[in-house]
């Protein structure tokens, strides 16, 4: 007799993902999908993905899905959640989306304490448009629009979103996690589960920032891009809980 030891989560649809080989979006999709199934809320969840590499998330999450304009997902989530307070609503946003064009929307969703969950994928670069500089791009890091390395004199010092948003009094939970190895992926799942559990309990705004990688955008191998998270990103973006109302 054989028994099933691993199965693709039914929280994901059965279609091939278009993410580049080596990209961590797939892992994060899986963690969110498994969480929604384990909490038994998949059928009452609405996912909102704005523009970025994850714009096609509506093809992958096996629940109701909304595709939103660049940066505006938190406002869409506010309108949806306020009119459907018993449902589970999450946004899935990149760092260009959330920390550049959508700063106003994310700050004010957190400021209002919207009872939604934000999955914030920080890969320190604009993946979809071909590897341009993001507000989260590390100092001296080369991208297609910072060919000499990010200069702090002209572009500022990289923005720390979790630290910033955790200052807002209405926020219930913010944690920064990483996706560069198995132990950290497991810890990331725990954080995601906690965020959704808080939403189910009606505690207010929750966000998990996941440090992730874009090997194509960085122009390195997948393994090197994971080392980049560990060796370059984590020292500047420390992991940990930034706000927890429990």
């Amino acid at each position: 007799m054989s028994k099933v030891v691993y199965e693709k989560s039914r929280g994901l649809t059965d279609v091939p993902m278009f993410y580049c080989p080596g990209c961590t979006h797939g892992i994060i999709h899986k963690l969110v999908a498994e969480t929604l199934v384990e909490l038994d809320v998949l059928e009452k969840t609405i996912a909102i993905a704005p523009v970025g590499c994850s714009v096609l998330a509506y093809e992958y999450f096996n629940c109701d899905c909304i595709q939103a304009s660049h940066g505006r997902a938190p406002a869409v989530a506010s309108g949806l959640k306020r009119t459907n307070p018993d449902k589970i609503v999450f946004t899935y946003q990149g760092d260009g989306d959330l920390a550049a064009i959508g700063t106003s929307e994310i700050v004010h969703s957190a400021h209002r304490g919207d009872n939604v969950t934000v999955i914030f994928v920080n890969n320190a670069i604009y993946g979809m448009t071909g590897g341009q500089m993001a507000p989260t791009t590390l100092t001296d890091m080369k991208t297609s629009t910072s060919p000499f390395g990010r200069g702090t004199a002209s572009s500022g010092i990289p923005i720390k979103v979790s630290e910033m948003l955790s200052q807002l009094p209405s926020v219930a939970y913010i944690e920064r996690v990483s996706t560069h190895d198995v132990a950290h992926v497991r810890a990331a799942k725990k954080a995601i589960k906690k965020a959704f559990t808080y939403q189910m309990e009606g505690r207010g705004f929750t966000m998990v920032e996941l440090l992730s990688s874009c090997n194509i955008g960085y122009g390195v191998s997948p393994v090197e891009s994971l080392s980049f998270i560990k060796d370059a990103m984590i020292p500047y973006y420390p992991l940990g809980i930034y706000k927890d109302v429990s």
């Binding site: 609405i46 595709q67 406002a75 989530a77 506010s78 309108g79 009119t83 449902k87």
Partner: protein, 353 residues
């Protein structure tokens, strides 16, 4: 049962929205429409709806996007610079075939412009500023009563065709008080099996989306949307045409300025000049056919707008060169008087202008 009340245009449109089953209002303060968010903040909750004062017009229209995607009747309102900010959201609402109502109380522009009444946003409303191939129905009431009736109608049309609908009024109508008859009305809410309301346990999962990376697929979606537009063009056009056989002039105006034109027409009658008003009620669809079939007695057409002349382009398209077209407008918040219009019309009649 009906009752008569004295109300400001802005507040009357709110009352109408609530009567029409609007369950979500999102807005950002801007003069001259502030009575709308103020009224809604007071009354949405008691009618079982939600109110959020958004951080910007961009956020407000995206909140509408979320609420509309979830299947509820949703509304936002703003004035000129704020409507400019909503254009991206309106394009997304169209691209995702989501119904909603947008009240636009226009003021003078461009830029920050002024806060006094204007009709300089005709292009903004009927041509949009959002990207892509699209139109949205635009209603232009001329009295507080009509604002109520057309706001209710807008919610019905929005749901029927799954499209954003705009109610365009100038600041004058938003601010003025008139008696309105509020009739008993029960909204008929239609099923929205496409809504992303988190009910995928009971049906196939739903997706609200405007993206299509496949060119043929996007073309097909656009063609389907234009089939819908064909139906709107055929059935939803509204116009008030007072031009009679024997009139030598047609004067065209929409919104509150059309009432000033009616006074001008009385003055002209005293001078022996027979003129009739044409008042487009829907700006899209525009009543082109009205202009193609004017009585042969009409020698001149005079278009009056509180702008430098925007609707005149649609009038020109309708007239197809059959009659000479003249224009009289004031801009920046200045409102023309009946005497000014009558003077201009008399010059035109004499062949001078």
């Amino acid at each position: 049962m009906s009752k008569k009340v004295l109300m400001k245009g802005n507040e009357a449109m709110c009352l109408a929205a609530i009567m029409a089953g609007c369950k979500a209002y999102f807005g950002y303060p801007i003069t001259p429409q502030n009575e709308i968010p103020e009224y809604m903040s007071q009354h949405m909750e008691e009618s079982g709806g939600v109110f959020i004062q958004a951080e910007s017009e961009i956020a407000a229209i995206n909140m509408v996007y979320g609420a509309a995607a979830g299947g509820v009747r949703a509304m936002t309102s703003s004035s000129s610079p704020g409507i400019a900010l909503k254009q991206e959201g309106i394009s997304y609402l169209v691209g995702s075939d989501l119904p909603c109502v947008i009240v636009s109380v226009s003021r003078g522009g461009p830029g920050l412009g002024g806060i006094l009444p204007s009709q300089a946003d005709y292009f903004q409303s009927t041509r949009g500023g959002g990207n892509g191939d699209y139109y949205i129905p635009v209603y232009a009431p001329s009295s507080v009563q009509e604002s109520v009736d057309l706001t209710i109608k807008s919610f019905e049309i929005a749901d029927k065709y799954r499209t954003p609908v705009m109610v365009l009024v100038d600041g004058l109508l938003g601010q003025m008080m008139e008696p309105v008859e509020i009739k008993d009305y029960k909204p008929t809410l239609i099923e929205k099996p496409w809504a992303t309301n988190g009910d995928s346990g009971r049906r196939k999962r739903n997706i609200v989306n405007s993206l299509s990376l496949n060119a043929e697929g996007l073309e097909e979606t656009n063609l389907r949307r234009f089939e819908k537009y064909k139906e709107i063009l055929k059935t939803e056009e509204m116009v008030e045409n007072h031009v009679k056989d024997g009139d030598e002039m047609a004067i065209v105006a929409y919104g509150t300025p059309s009432r000033i034109v009616l006074n001008a027409i009385d003055i002209l009658a005293e001078q022996g000049i027979k003129a009739g008003l044409i008042r487009p009620v829907t700006l899209w669809p525009f009543p082109y056919s009205t202009f193609a079939n004017l009585p042969s007695s009409v020698k001149n057409i005079l278009v009056c707008e509180l702008s430098m002349g925007q609707m005149i382009e649609d009038v020109r398209q309708g007239v197809q060169g059959k009659h000479p077209i003249h224009f009289y407008g004031r801009t920046g918040g200045v409102i023309f008087s009946p005497e000014e219009i009558a003077k201009k019309a008399a010059e035109v009649a004499k062949g001078g202008a």
